[in-house]
């Protein structure tokens, strides 16, 4: 089975090797690797490989997700198998003091918080938290509804990306 996989990697030494490892470990025969640098310290990588069956692909996916590697698209025999977006959000409010772990867990029920950046000027002031959330295209509305609920409950202001 032919697989074309698009990944988003951090532009740091060794990240490409780490992304390729699960493919070869689970029996993938790599045909080609294309990569290009993008803004914001990221590298877009397109890997084409052959595998025995779909369960091998699921194992590769799981391994890549464990390593927090973003999968933006998978084509299996030329057909879209799995497509994802990474959406950015900024939450403004007492995000840390209102159980940030709980907030992340709730979001992870729908998508995956893959990156988080916090500025907290002082404990009594509102903090600003930027999150990147990997989300299946079909679940974007659900994610938006969830974030609205969280913001209402915890009195946050949310700043969505334009595509979010």
């Amino acid at each position: 089975m032919k697989v074309d996989m698009k990944l988003q990697l951090r532009d740091v030494p060794g990240s490409l090797l780490r992304a390729l490892e699960p493919v070869s470990v689970h029996g993938g025969n790599i045909v080609s690797v294309l990569h290009s640098r993008e803004d914001g310290g990221r590298v877009s990588v397109q890997i084409s490989f052959k595998i025995k069956d779909q369960s091998s692909l699921d194992l590769i996916k799981r391994e890549l997700r464990k390593q927090n590697i973003r999968l933006s698209e998978i084509l299996l025999e030329g057909k879209r198998y799995y497509s994802k977006k990474t959406l950015s959000f900024i939450l403004i409010g007492h995000v840390i003091d209102t159980d940030i772990r709980g907030t992340i867990d709730k979001i992870n029920d729908v998508g995956l918080v893959s990156d988080i950046d916090v500025i907290m000027p002082s404990p009594e002031k509102r903090s600003s938290v930027m999150m990147n959330i990997d989300i299946d295209n079909r679940k974007i509305k659900k994610l938006n509804r969830l974030i609205n609920e969280i913001c209402k409950e915890k009195k946050f202001l949310v700043i969505r990306s334009l595509e979010g």
Partner: protein, 334 residues
Amino acid sequence: MKLKNIKLTIIGFGEIGRGFARVLLEKKRFIEREYEVDLKVVAVCEIGGSIIDEDGIDLEKALKLAENKELRKHENWTSMKALDVIKKVKSDTVLELTPSDIKSGQPGLKHIKESLMKGMHVVTSNKAPLALKFSELQKIANSNKVKLEYEATVGGALPIINLRKHALQINKIESIHGILNGTSNYVLTKMAEEGVTMDVALKEAQEIGIAEADPGYDIKGIDTGAKVAILANSLMDMNVSFNDIEITGIKDITPEAIELAKKHNCVIKLIGDVNRLEVSPRLIPINHPLNVSGAMNAIMINADIAKNITIVGHGAGGIETASSLLSDILDIIS
């Protein structure tokens, strides 16, 4: 060359009305030559009274008096209110240029209704009446066989309504996102570029004349919301009112949020999202076409055939807005 006389009534002689008068004087010869019309202003209405001269008001003189707040010293000054002028002075087109009151839409709403019912075309820069009663006003215009044109209500000089009408006729508009308020864009730009707080950025905007003394309309997103309602009706055939728009302004945005966005190669902009009927601060990549600085406005349309089109320009200012007003007037004439 025999020129056709076109009579105009101007209601509201503030920044927009005076800007229009100045541009009309400047472009008089051009309009006569190209359109074979003589645009005569027969009435100028302000709070407390009006100047009326059926042979055409000397605009230079009126402008001079208005600058010195001495309009009532004009020899043709009467205490007649705008509504009475609409009823009694016959003109071809009424320019409704009074300030917007988004709660009631008045006094613009009654001026526009009365003018249309009297069989006069209306060209307006006043957002509130259209944002509140778009379909009702269009119906009145249609049943009286006159036109209601409103290019100047959205994006000042940006030709968004006419772009759709004259250049994108066969397109279905699939989405519209816009930076539709110069003051909020100026404030967010200053915060991002100079790291100042919102209060400091606002004070600066007031000092250089971009923001009003009470910038609440802009900062709370109300002005953008009114424009979203107009775009939804006119470009996307939705039948909605200002009260259907969900609005979140920029007043709670922290400098830290701006800093975070910057760190991740983004900016925060107050965006009118017409599909969603929503106004809210949004994250935009720095290389996105909507990332325009200062008091500029930008509107991005996604159409089924033409795909993405972005127009950028001055969203306010008396002179700039006159470009849209005159475009509407000449459109009616042609």
